[in-house]
């Protein structure tokens, strides 16, 4: 019985994928052109549903923008020119890879800075721990004898 359920689940998953693929029919007969359009559209954020690319989104604006990209690529525009066109209208926000500039420095280097700070902390912490361990004075004879006594008495429970 669990097997049957599993098969049902898998076939449902496969079917929904197939249905999804059918939705995204290319709008022109030239597969090379469509590949370029999709490649560019995958780099651009859809502003209506912000966690999707223009390539994925079915929002009317995303479809319009995809048509814009297609027209421009047909007209001989390079990828950089198309992106520039989008940035002029929607700002850097449309780019899934934000450009490196003053305002995005923290975005680009923040994680690395945090990582380095973590390493620095770890290094200092470990070095300090080793130092305190070394600094602990060895036992003198009297302490040693007392420790022995405690251990011996503990070893013979009554």
């Amino acid at each position: 019985m669990p097997n049957l359920i599993r098969i049902l689940f898998i076939s449902a998953a496969l079917f929904s994928q197939a249905a999804h693929a059918a939705e995204a029919l290319p709008a022109s007969d030239d597969p090379a052109l469509e590949r370029r359009v999709t490649a560019i559209a995958e780099e651009l954020r859809c502003l209506v549903c912000q966690n999707q690319t223009i390539a994925e989104s079915h929002a009317p604006l995303a479809i319009d923008l995809k048509n814009q990209i297609r027209d421009q690529v047909k007209g001989g525009a390079s990828e950089a020119e198309v992106k520039d066109y989008m940035v002029k209208r929607y700002g850097d926000f449309v780019l899934y890879r934000p450009p490196l500039k003053g305002i995005t420095l923290l975005l680009w280097f923040g994680p690395f800075t945090l990582l380095l700070a973590g390493f620095a902390f770890l290094f200092i912490y470990l070095r300090q721990r080793r130092k305190t361990q070394q600094e602990e004075a060895p036992l003198d004879d009297e302490q040693r004898a007392r420790a022995r006594q405690i251990l011996d008495s503990g070893a013979k429970p009554e």
Binding site: P60, D64, R89
Partner: protein
């Protein structure tokens, strides 16, 4: 030595503040690259008179507002009353851009709910919308006498926003040469 135990607490509070501020930000408010730039040129037919065309150049020398709306846009319905009231004050001309709509739907809407627009332009394909970076109607642009975009409102205009931000800005722009 006691201060050591306060470090995690301090980090926790710092994180809390950071996340709290993050929650308050609106991810839909994309900083517009248009502020301070000339309003993109366009020519469009009017909504009421398809044979009459309008170009943004006709408004040079005036401070004006361009409101992008559509009959399918629910939020536009929400701000409509505010716009109708605003148009009656006659502070500056308000023009409407009927965006990705059908002519009869746009006209029907204006007949039903009132027409706050001095002129209505008809952008059936939404191409002017793209040139103005419109991604969520309603959007409203304030354009100064030199034809430069000075402000962009994404989302609805409320009476408070009009009173506190838009009207003061319009008066300031009106006063300048």
């Amino acid at each position: 030595m006691k201060a050591r135990y306060l470090i995690p607490l301090a980090i926790f509070i710092g994180l809390l503040v950071l996340l709290g501020v993050g929650l308050k930000l609106n991810p839909r408010e994309v900083p517009s690259p248009f502020i301070g730039k000339p309003a993109p040129a366009f020519t469009l037919p009017e909504l009421h008179r398809p044979e009459v065309s309008f170009s943004q150049k006709e408004m040079l020398g005036k401070v004006w507002m361009l409101n992008v709306w559509a009959s399918w846009c629910e939020a536009c319905r929400e701000e409509h009353e505010t716009l109708v009231a605003f148009s009656k004050t006659g502070v500056v001309p308000l023009l409407g851009l009927n965006y990705k709509d059908e002519r009869k739907d746009g006209l029907g809407w204006l007949n039903q709910f009132g027409n706050p627009y001095q002129r209505s332009l008809f952008d059936h394909e939404g191409l002017v919308g793209i040139d103005y970076g419109v991604y969520g109607v309603p959007e409203t642009f304030i354009i100064d006498k030199q034809g430069v975009i000075r402000y962009k409102q994404i989302g609805i205009i409320t009476p408070e926003l009009l009173r506190d931000k838009i009207v003061p800005l319009l008066r300031e722009l009106e006063a300048s040469a």
